[in-house]
Amino acid sequence: MQLTVWTYEGPPHIGAMRVAASMEGVHCVLHAPQGDTYADLLFTMIERRPSRPPVTYTTFQARDLGRDTAELFQSTLHATYERFRPRVLLIGETCTAELIQDQPGALAEGMGLPVPVIPLELSAYSRKENWGASETFYWLVRTLLSGRPTERAPRPAGQRPRANLLGPTALGFRCRDDVVEVTRLLEAVGVEINVVAPLGATPEDLLRLPEADFNVCLYPEVGELAAEWLGRQFRQPLVRTVPIGVGATREFLREVARVADIEIDLGRFESRLSWYSRSVDSTYLTGKRVFIFADATHALAAARVASEELGLTVVGLGTYSREFARDLRELAATLGCEALVTDDYLEVEARIAELHPELVLGTQMERHTAKRLGIPCAVISAPVHVQDFPARYAPQMGFEGANCLFDTWVHPLMMGLEEHLLTMFREDFEFHDAAVPSHLGGGDGSKAARPSAAQSTPESTPESTPEQAAPGEPIWSPAAEQELGKIPFFVRGKARRNTQRYARERGLETITVETLYEAKAHFGR
């Protein structure tokens, strides 16, 4: 058993639903107890879709368990086919159905339905949502394209290269606008889009996948398995760079140029991020300490943007996508920080508390932690809630995506002038330590929203509170404690830690005002 306060991913059948709901002409029948239909409202409420997801549930109850739930599954499947007439059927079980072992996939195959029926093995107790989406998409592509001729004629001279965009799904973070942005980008360099899948595709579209000259995998968590199979089967090269951030987008275009054998003039493209980040207003961002936690794709991209394009210092980098742990560890090593690969919310929370970053870039879950610790936070990856399916154009990818990243990440930080004045004058009745940045409109009633560092230290890291100092830990003198209070809240936690470390390493029993400044001189900012 795992104590799960918040879960980064849903169960794998949600991944299967995301693929089905992304497409047209595909219907998913899930063997599931009453209540599992809650998943519909992820699509109708969080993503605000105007139609029901193409999913039918058997919704068995306790009284059905005494009868024939296998028969219930078959009658549900039959009625579903008759009503919706899908061109492809996906068959799956949710966690409870997996326990009663009705083998719905095998049952469905024996029913002789006149359309492809794809049984899914979803392993609800060991796998999760993205894996479910990836498997579902892979089996869809593989089932529909098995037996197709694998030889392709070379692209005729003068014909524009064609690409498939693989990976975007319903409920994916900003997939809707990323597809638009990447499509524009590729069309601007003379590449045609062959098929976008699964988002918006039909089964017939999937049959056209082999017609593309190469594949672009925008979301490896979902699309890589299928993209690699296509690569093996139809010799389609794969563009692996995910174009999030200015540098990555340029690299993406260079990779496209290589794979498609075309010339691309990178000088044509600009992102405002590059200038905004160089403008003097952004100087105060230099070295701000940021903690990043997300799915692997967005975490890797964010780390690069944060360090290379905004001049922040990445102090922690983590992901819940275990499949991509190696990539993340490598990048963390080059950034000089420790990688965190976990799906345990409490572990992430403890790491953030320990590192005292000035900004957290994370998921909806990190917003909970950031609220508790009083740290500014921006969302960069799923899981997300309704506010991160915005009405406005809000891509993460391409050059416009970079513009969005700049605005979104800088917004929660205290603005430069306010930060300076707060450090100089500490007793203002309106602008003070406990108030949220005034451009966020907190006002006086929001005192609790930004507790001072001492108050905000969670129980999970008792060693950092002076009152509960472990035996052998240096004691803060009242004067030093008072002096510490003069340091702005967003760096105070780090100052406290550094000073304690400095005193400990030198065997000091008491921390004085001098110790504080000696530690400051020793470590620098």
């Binding site: 879960t7 919704t59 409870t96």
Partner: protein, 426 residues
């Protein structure tokens, strides 16, 4: 308006046609009740023992709020638990230990059963006893089921309260008291308390209480009113402890609230004149509050898809006090023992359905094309896109709608989508 509710009670609802349906059900499981129960009982923590699906349901429903200190979590079963490689009871003890160490403020811990924990027959009641002992009286540990196999949406509150009943302290012998059963908004609770005080009814207790450490007493002198229609099992459990149920309409609108308060007044032998005098001002206010919305609602046709079990009393209110015409009223299940007064007021031309076969019900809905459809959030936007106006039913359990002073607010919930439709031109 007279006390129509009481006069109707006992009339056999034999001519009432009830259709029973079976098929796909688009409803929440009982775990969803945690979304409001965790706010009502402030020192309680809800630990679901289930799968990632259960955890995902909870955070999808409540995770839009940002919690500095979450008050619910899931002990997610893993492969090794199912394969018997790990003893589930040991694992549960470990997880609870971890949770209590992190959250010393927890006073009551609910262990909430789910579909997976029920299918593998994990005995949470025994675990609750064991854990209460192990933690030396620091926390009260209570087990109940919120699984979709056993419970539908608000039924999760019923199973939660049922599990609390054995823990309620015994009331002193010979003391009469009124117990109001069902989670109510705090302001509504205060209003009812003032009303009963004025009538001289008391002492008044509420179940669930605002803090798990302040459980209401129960005994032979306890008479209880159900504030919510989905608490049949709780009523039976309270009766088993000697308490007496005061059957009444549910306190929605003027008529319902009046009948509900009257049931207590009769039990306390309050004279009719006194009763009328005390409720006169709130009734007059409620009538004024309702008047704003009657015009928008009168004559409009409304259908209810099964969801929260509030459908019958709310339809009664909308029909009799706002002039709406119910077309189909669907309920997830029908417990006649606590619905008798309400059923007596359901007109014969209303299509009353118990259970659900979703696709067929939607076919009927599309054929009926009512002016307003009350349904869950999985269906609301898709129906809106088909040109049907909807009112999402979950709001009925997370908004203050009981009592005289909320009658106008309750009507407003249904008028709002219609007013909105009239306003939006783009």
């Amino acid at each position: 308006m007279s006390a129509a509710g009481s006069s109707g009670r006992g009339a056999p609802p034999s001519e009432l046609q009830i259709c029973h349906e079976q098929g796909q059900r688009e409803v929440f499981c009982g775990l969803a009740a945690i979304v409001w129960l965790h706010r009502k009982i402030q020192d309680a923590f809800f630990l679901v023992v289930g799968s990632r699906t259960c955890a995902h349901l909870l955070q999808s429903a409540a995770g839009v709020m940002i919690f500095a200190e979450p008050r619910f979590a899931t002990a997610v079963l893993e492969d090794r638990d199912l394969a018997g490689m790990a003893d589930c009871n040991d694992e549960l003890d470990r997880v609870v230990g971890q949770l209590l160490a992190r959250r010393p403020d927890i006073g009551t811990l609910f262990l909430v059963g789910s579909c997976p924990s029920e299918v593998i027959k994990l005995d949470l009641e025994k675990a609750a006893e064991r854990l209460a002992q192990a933690h030396g009286g620091r926390v009260r540990v209570i087990a109940y089921s919120g699984s979709g196999l056993e419970t539908t949406f608000t039924q999760g509150e019923d199973t939660c309260l049922v599990a609390m009943v054995p823990q309620l302290p015994a009331a002193p012998a010979g003391e009469d008291s009124l117990l109001v059963v069902g989670a109510l908004a705090d302001t509504v609770e205060d209003q009812f308390r003032r009303l009963f005080d004025e009538l001289g009814i008391g002492p008044v207790h509420f179940l669930p209480p605002r803090r798990g450490s302040a459980l209401p007493p129960v005994g032979a002198g306890t008479r209880f009113l159900l504030a919510q229609p989905f608490l049949g099992e709780t009523a039976r459990a309270l009766a088993a402890r000697g308490a007496t149920h005061l059957p009444a309409l549910y306190p929605f609108g003027v008529e319902g609230t009046r009948a509900w308060v009257l049931a207590a007044a009769r039990a306390w032998g309050i004279a009719d004149e006194r009763f009328e005098a005390v409720i006169a001002a709130p009734v007059a206010r409620a009538e004024r509050g309702l008047a704003h919305y009657r015009e928008q609602l009168a004559g409009k046709r409304i259908s209810f898809l099964p969801d929260a079990q509030l459908e019958i009393p709310v339809a009664r209110f909308l029909q009799r006090e706002c002039g709406m015409q119910p077309v189909e009223v669907g309920v997830p299940y029908l417990d006649r023992s606590v619905m008798a007064d309400e059923l007596a007021l359901v007109p014969a031309d209303v299509r009353l359905t118990e259970g659900q076969d979703l696709e067929r019900q939607l076919d009927r809905l599309r054929a009926d094309r009512p002016d307003l459809t009350v349904c869950g959030l999985g269906l609301a936007n898709p129906l809106e896109a088909e040109g049907l106006r909807t009112k999402w039913s979950i709001e009925l359990v997370v908004a203050p709608i009981h009592g005289f002073d909320q009658a106008g607010d309750l009507a407003e919930l249904f008028a709002r989508p219609l007013i909105r439709q009239a306003r939006l031109v783009a």
